[in-house]
């Protein structure tokens, strides 16, 4: 037996390296996994996330593709229906729109319309979000688009451990699954990641910080803004419970409802546009399920309904941050206080 190496135990890994470790493990454990995408093979990906994987697993299983998103995803659908487990990198989620047909009309339908006799267990890895200077075609947060499609699973890892666990869960899952990463986090500080453990199911939220006064739910990079907001609020005596939603579809309603039911207040924060964003779904569902038990209306924060400008200071005018989350949370708590003082 080889010694416990980087593939077991706890390692200090950046978010991007955690993705790499998950891919390495999947390629090693499952001969049916193939990994491909633009610049994914030899160069190891534009963010270096697939580095060395072609060397480890061979060019037959890890390879570069033409810039042909429709073919890339269509090939994944066919290969998955035929027994492979393709993992495809779509470099930016914005580019998935070029091949949305293959995800929405094709992959999402396979299991249902065949009454379960066929399946398309493919994984799409991609990343989203605005970063300073990124143009309007490289800045969108499109999770709600895909969460709207029954049959697709949509995960958004926030921590390096999430990146590792959720990707393995996606690859092992028998459904077409989209894992949306965040490029701003790939090269962040190393965090402890426990490797080699059992593979979880492709669902499930986590309580990232317990609290009693209100619930903040966020995902991806916005989780860190929510945690920062919670830290600010704690200094003012407001204890926010922060939920890392992780999987947007299927969504972990029991965890969220339990938290919001206990705190009586819910604030959703996301980086996608407000209108029709997944926050709207959460607000509607929670209000429906917890009617009468909430102490204030559910609030949503998201990007102002606009295209994303390239200039960093213009972007900042649109995107919520910890300060704005904390302010909205204060208002939520205050709202209830005001109501209580009404005769």
């Amino acid at each position: 037996m080889p010694e416990a190496s980087s593939s077991t135990g706890v390692a200090q890994l950046s978010f991007g390296k955690a993705v790499n470790a998950a891919l390495a493990r999947a390629l090693e454990d499952m001969p049916e996994v193939v990994l491909y995408g633009e610049d994914v093979g030899k160069p190891g990906g534009v963010f270096g996330v697939t580095k060395d994987l072609q060397r480890q697993a061979g060019a037959a299983r890890v390879f570069d593709t033409p810039i042909s998103e429709t073919a890339m995803l269509g090939v994944a659908v066919g290969a998955a229906m035929s027994g492979l487990r393709p993992v495809v990198e779509i470099m930016w989620i914005d580019f998935s729109l070029v091949a949305m047909d293959q995800l929405v009309n094709q992959a999402a339908n396979v299991r249902y319309v065949s009454a379960g006799r066929l399946a398309a267990p493919l994984t799409v890895r991609t990343q989203q979000g605005a970063t300073p200077g990124s143009c309007a075609q490289h800045s969108q947060n499109l999770e709600a688009l895909y969460a709207h499609i029954p049959g697709l699973r949509v995960g958004i890892p926030a921590t390096a451990q999430d990146a590792y666990d959720m990707l393995l869960a996606a690859i092992r899952c028998d459904d077409p699954t989209l894992v949306i990463e965040n490029r701003a986090m790939y090269h962040g500080d190393p965090q402890p990641v426990s490797l080699g453990g059992p593979i979880e199911d492709a669902c499930g939220a986590r309580v990232a910080r317990p609290g009693r006064d209100l619930t903040l739910v966020a995902w991806g990079a916005m989780l860190f803004q929510a945690l920062e907001a919670a830290a600010q609020l704690a200094r003012e005596g407001i204890e926010a419970e922060v939920i890392n939603a992780r999987w947007i579809a299927p969504f972990d309603w029991p965890t969220l409802l339990a938290s919001a039911g206990r705190t009586g207040r819910l604030l959703v924060a996301h980086e996608a546009n407000v209108t029709g964003g997944f926050g709207a779904e959460i607000a509607a569902r929670v209000q429906d399920e917890l009617y009468g038990r909430l102490r204030a209306p559910v609030r949503r924060l998201g990007v102002a309904d606009c295209r994303i400008p390239a200039a960093p200071h213009l972007q900042a005018a649109l995107i919520p941050d910890a300060g704005r989350i904390a302010q909205a949370a204060r208002e939520l708590v205050g709202e209830q206080r005001d109501r209580r003082t009404q005769p």
Partner: protein, 325 residues
Amino acid sequence: MSLVATSGDAPFARELAALDTMLHIRLLEEKITELRKAQSIQGSIHLCIGQEAIYAGSCQALRADDPVFSTYRGHGWALARGVPAQGILAELLGRESGVCRGRGGSAMFSAADHGFYGENSIVGAGAPIACGAALASVLRGEERVALTAFGDGAMNQGAIHEAMNFAAYRDLPVLFICENNTYAELTPVAETVRDAELHKRAAAYGMPGERVDGNDVAAVRDCVAHHAARARGGQGPALIEMMTQRLVGHYYGDLQGYRPRGELAEARQREPIARLRQRLAADGVAADTLAALEAAAAADIARAAEAALAAPLADPATVMEHLYA
């Protein structure tokens, strides 16, 4: 842009004008690199250093009202269409005086009043749009030719195939310009196609396909002029594959580890600006003329940068403007 040629250089006016454009592009992009390095400009920047002859030559062959659609690597196209360097730099710096008030940025700005209908950051997406511009021109009897530029990697995008067929079956006046710099980001195009002579694909759509030396400004100009005339005369589109090399990374910060040793040094031997300068010198253009041209271009770009840096930032209070009519 001003020409600093003396009367004795008159027979070379066209070549000197091309050189002037190319120098402006090169110096603009060097200035952009400097500003990016200093973090004054943020985010992804895609430079066209080494590919300047394509823009200068093509635009010399176009009419001022012919719409040009480029990729995200569009600074050179914009400048060759006459977009002021100040407006481009201000755009990249997020200033109010930027051609798109800081909204487009390096990868998505446009300046339609100069015939520059914009960059596009989705590989291949500009080609069908150019077909639409050509359709409008035909229906309105305007005899404009739409030029759409894309890379060798883009040749594998569905949108490009659909656009070429659409233009061909409707005889639309579209020039499909493939800037073949042999790389799609970090991957050599030859590794993702069976036949790397991309111009041959034109035959499948029933239109002319040609390969030219994209570092030879005269060859580029002549080829574009020929096909533009055909297209204007109702004879339909053409695919022109222009062979070139970028002398820099795919994006700012790209370490280019994927490039074989010696490739860049070799590419520098063939680079279009030095080449045109040498040819003009050999043909008898005075060294002073060439030096003066370069000095004037450098002064232009320095002035443009100064003005752009002094301009006020785009006002965040206006960030929601332009979303709807």
